[in-house]
């Protein structure tokens, strides 16, 4: 029992379960999943599908945050990749051919990979603070996207492209499968290689890592590239959903939701230790919350307030100090009994 409560993902999971319970009480149909013509439908499936762009962005964000950085440009990068892909398809004579669509997607993702590497260059080589370095592209990116589309909202009709957001494979929405594959690839990339542990070492203690011979420059640089690449794919999914390249609205404020998802999942903004599983749960929390808000009929104008309240509750539940206060209210005897092996951690002490 104690071990379960000490697991670092317990609070994010509890928050997600609480949200789901709340939803299923207020609308019993929430949990039901129906199969129509071999395809799954239902609120939960919608959440899996709609969370895909945020999922991709948040995975990249988690790794960038682990290096003590941040990537504010992800929303703008989504706009850029969508513009590139849709402009290629719109200019093509065969918008319905699979080849055109594949080329368009690859081009869109490739260009954001380049922009991500640009961010990484500014941070890892030039030494600009991450928040400033990526702010440049956050502000300029949408302008670049508008340049690509010539100032218009490019719309297309392309059946293969629409499959990304509306199609199903093996009963599941394609968008969800894309995000699931991304989770699998990123997990293998960081945990089956030494990238994860070296990233954590650099994030926890950059100078000790340097003395241990870790090449932090290359690591940080490539992770910003990865973040760009994932944001590019998110932009493709977004533009497929509306079949338009909307440079002004694609991925607007998604950087904030992504940072939030990472933090809700239990990764510290101070860098170092990160958890991809926690980030995935964080994304689901945010997406479920969005769906709840829509269902409860909260007026759009006060949506941010509602979201903020939930986020504060989740963050407080994760705060060491808050937990200390709460457990301080309980009889101390019980505390000793429930955590016999716990060694006290000095949290507020500065070391000499």
């Amino acid at each position: 029992m104690t071990r379960i409560f000490k697991h670092r993902l317990i609070w994010p999971i509890a928050a997600l379960v609480a949200l789901i319970v709340l939803n299923s009480i207020s609308r019993p149909s929430f949990l039901s999943i129906t199969i129509t013509r071999g395809q799954l439908y239902g609120s939960l499936i919608d959440i899996l599908r709609d969370s895909a762009p945020l999922m991709l962005v948040a995975l990249g964000m988690a790794l960038v945050i682990a290096t003590r950085g941040i990537d504010l440009s992800v929303g703008a990068q989504m706009a850029i990749s969508g513009s590139v892909a849709l402009t290629i398809i719109a200019d093509s004579k065969t918008p319905n051919s699979l080849g055109t669509v594949v080329v368009a997607i690859l081009a869109g993702v490739a260009i954001t990979l380049v922009f991500g590497l640009w961010n990484g260059f500014l941070v890892a080589v030039v030494g600009i603070q991450p928040i400033i370095a990526t702010l440049v592209l956050m502000l300029a990116g949408r302008g670049i996207a508008l340049l690509i589309t010539g100032g218009f909202i490019t719309t297309i009709t392309s059946t293969p492209y629409a499959v990304l957001s509306q199609g199903h494979v093996l009963g599941f929405p394609v968008a969800f499968l894309v995000s699931a594959i991304a989770i699998a690839i990123v997990t293998v990339l960081v945990r089956r290689t030494a990238l994860g542990v070296l990233t954590e070492a650099v994030g926890i203690n950059p100078s000790a890592s340097r003395l241990a011979g870790v090449r932090s420059r290359g690591i940080v640089w490539s992770l910003y590239g990865l973040s760009g690449l994932l944001a590019g794919m998110a932009g493709i999914l977004y533009s497929s959903n509306i079949m338009a390249a909307d440079a002004n609205n694609a991925g607007i404020n998604i950087e904030l939701d992504a940072i939030l998802a990472v933090v809700l999942g239990g990764t510290s903004l101070a860098g170092g230790k990160f958890t991809l599983a926690g980030t995935v749960i964080g994304v689901f929390i945010i997406q479920t919350l969005t769906s709840t808000i829509t269902f409860l009929g909260v007026p759009p104008a006060v949506t941010p307030v509602f979201k903020a309240v939930v986020v504060i509750i989740v963050c407080l539940s994760q705060s060491q100090r808050m937990r200390g206060w709460i457990s301080g209210l309980r009889p101390p005897k019980r505390l000793v009994v429930t955590t016999p092996n716990e060694t006290p951690i000095a949290t507020n002490r500065t070391t000499a």
Binding site: R210, L211, A212, R215
Partner: protein, 504 residues
């Protein structure tokens, strides 16, 4: 000085996650005296200062101010009790005006707004009291460092001050500036302020201080009147003479091959770095244990960092195996077989939130690159064998490294470097701040390594330790090598005299 002490600390004990930083320390500070706190790194000086200035709390012991138990729960509380501090790194705001800096947080107000005119005149008076004549409206950063230091003191004095703590106030001042500071200190002393002066410059301590308290390894060595204490005695008390088993000496054999004909594995000719180290030459041979002795700031660490690529060289030539090389990073040095272990375990050594296993395998993994991950089985095997070989306790490889005691953290750092099988191991104070048992273990390990053919540069503040383990000793003073001799030809007393500068 007829009354009791202004500050009286008794039985002070402070502990950081298993490491005792301060243990059973008594300390007294009287009105109208300048008192110096002396000790090497890790002696507990800054911990004691932090306790007196309310930055941290004692785990045991009491602090009396004017004979009354004091409530020093925060720096603000300490300030209310009349204790002001000027820290080592001048903690001022360079882009604000002098007056703003002097009165920050205590600005005079009129109708709820800041009274700028009153502020300038108040700041001017405070500065005049110190004999500083500058325009209070000028921007702080336009002034010399020494003036800024005086502004920091003026700031400390605007409150009703009984005790002024000066932590390394002279480390970035030149001689005239130091004289100016000392003039101010003397006048404050006459006004009855108790001054705690911390500096590692012996000359200055002897010039300005009335009384000296010496700490070593978190314990009190003693309290002395400056006039009664010879410099050489002071250094001896700071560095200590610990009785450690001497059978180490017996096993020591100086390799014969270390004659002048053999080629040094690393030779530095006139290497220098601006503002850090003047041109210096060092050679180290295969299978040699070279000891570097000298006080804090003597250049011992600076040499080590230049030799191992941590800091880069401005001038001179560094040869590895006879080939001139430029080491751009510690990684560069490691690829050539030179590994450096920092004196600063917490900041440059251990990665506290990673496990012991991850810490031990880090350097090897970094060398393989991120793509070629060591298998978990290989990692377990490697860490288990080092944990056993170095007797790291607790022996659980999945324990977070930050939770280990200082001695065991040091062993984890050593294991990390030894896993690379380096040819030259540069150890900067590997035995500082760890218990005597681990200390002897590390000394033994180092001698064993050298016997197996590795070269080691061993830096320690403890002269006896250097003499005991090293084949050859370089003695540094004021960033210059003053002695380069076989350990056998040196005695503890001659070493002590060299480090201290004969005696004045």
């Amino acid at each position: 000085m007829s009354e009791g002490p202004v500050v009286e600390v008794s039985g002070a004990r402070v502990q950081f996650a298993g490491d005792v930083a301060l243990d059973a320390v008594d300390f007294r500070l009287f009105a109208g005296e300048v008192h110096s706190l002396m000790g090497e790194n890790g002696a507990g000086k800054s911990t004691l200062i932090r306790a007196i200035t309310g930055v941290l709390r004692l785990d045991a012991g009491t602090i009396l101010i004017d004979g009354q138990p004091a409530d020093l729960t925060s720096p603000a509380a300490a300030q209310r009790a009349g204790i002001s501090t000027v820290y080592q790194e001048i903690d001022l705001l360079p882009n604000l005006s002098v007056a703003e800096n002097v009165l920050l947080g205590r600005e005079p107000r009129r109708w709820g707004r800041i009274d700028w005119k009153g502020m300038r005149s108040m700041a001017g008076e405070a500065l005049a009291r110190l004999g500083v004549d500058i325009d209070p409206a000028s921007t702080l950063s336009t002034h010399r460092l020494a003036t800024q230091q005086l502004v920091a003191i003026a700031r400390a004095l605007t409150a009703d001050v009984k005790v002024l703590v000066l932590d390394e106030p002279t480390s970035s001042l030149d001689q005239d500036e130091v004289a100016e500071l000392f003039r101010v200190i003397r006048s404050l002393k006459e006004q009855g302020v108790a001054i705690l002066f911390v500096s590692h410059f012996l000359e200055q301590v002897y010039e300005i201080c009335d009384r000296i308290t010496v700490l070593r390894n978190g314990r009190l060595v003693g309290e002395y009147m400056t006039t009664d204490l010879l410099r050489i005695e002071l250094v001896q008390k700071m560095l200590g003479r610990e009785v450690v088993d001497l059978d180490l000496l017996a096993s020591r054999t100086v390799p014969d091959a270390m004659s002048t004909e053999s080629e040094p594995i690393v030779s530095a000719t006139g290497i220098s770095r601006r503002g850090v180290l003047p041109p210096t030459s060092v050679e180290i041979f295969e299978g040699e244990l070279l000891g570097l002795a000298g006080l804090l700031g003597s250049g011992r660490t600076e040499i080590a960092r230049l030799l191992s690529g941590v800091d880069s060289i401005d001038g001179g030539v560094l040869r590895v195996d006879g080939t001139a090389t430029h080491l751009h990073s510690p990684r560069d040095a490691m690829l050539r077989g030179i590994a450096y272990s920092s004196e600063n375990r917490k900041i440059e050594g251990i990665i506290g939130e990673l496990t012991v296993r991850e810490n031990i395998t880090l350097a090897l993994q970094a060398q393989r690159g991120w793509f070629r991950r060591m298998s978990r089985a290989r990692q377990d095997e490697l860490s288990a064998s080092w944990i056993e070989a170095l007797e790291i306790r607790p022996s659980d490889p999945e324990k977070l490294a930050g939770r280990l005691s200082g001695g065991n953290q040091q062993k984890v750092m050593l294991a990390r470097l030894l896993a690379l099988a380096p040819r030259l191991l540069v150890l900067d104070e590997p035995t500082r701040g760890i218990d005597v048992g681990s200390k002897v273990e590390i000394q033994k390990l180092v001698t064993d390594l050298v016997e197996s053919g590795m070269s080691v540069i061993f830096i320690s503040a403890e002269l006896e330790e250097v003499l005991r383990v090293a084949h050859r000793v370089l003695v540094l003073r004021d960033r210059r090598v003053i002695i380069n001799a076989d350990a056998d030809s040196l005695s503890l007393d001659s070493l002590l005299a060299a480090v201290t500068k004969a005696d004045a």
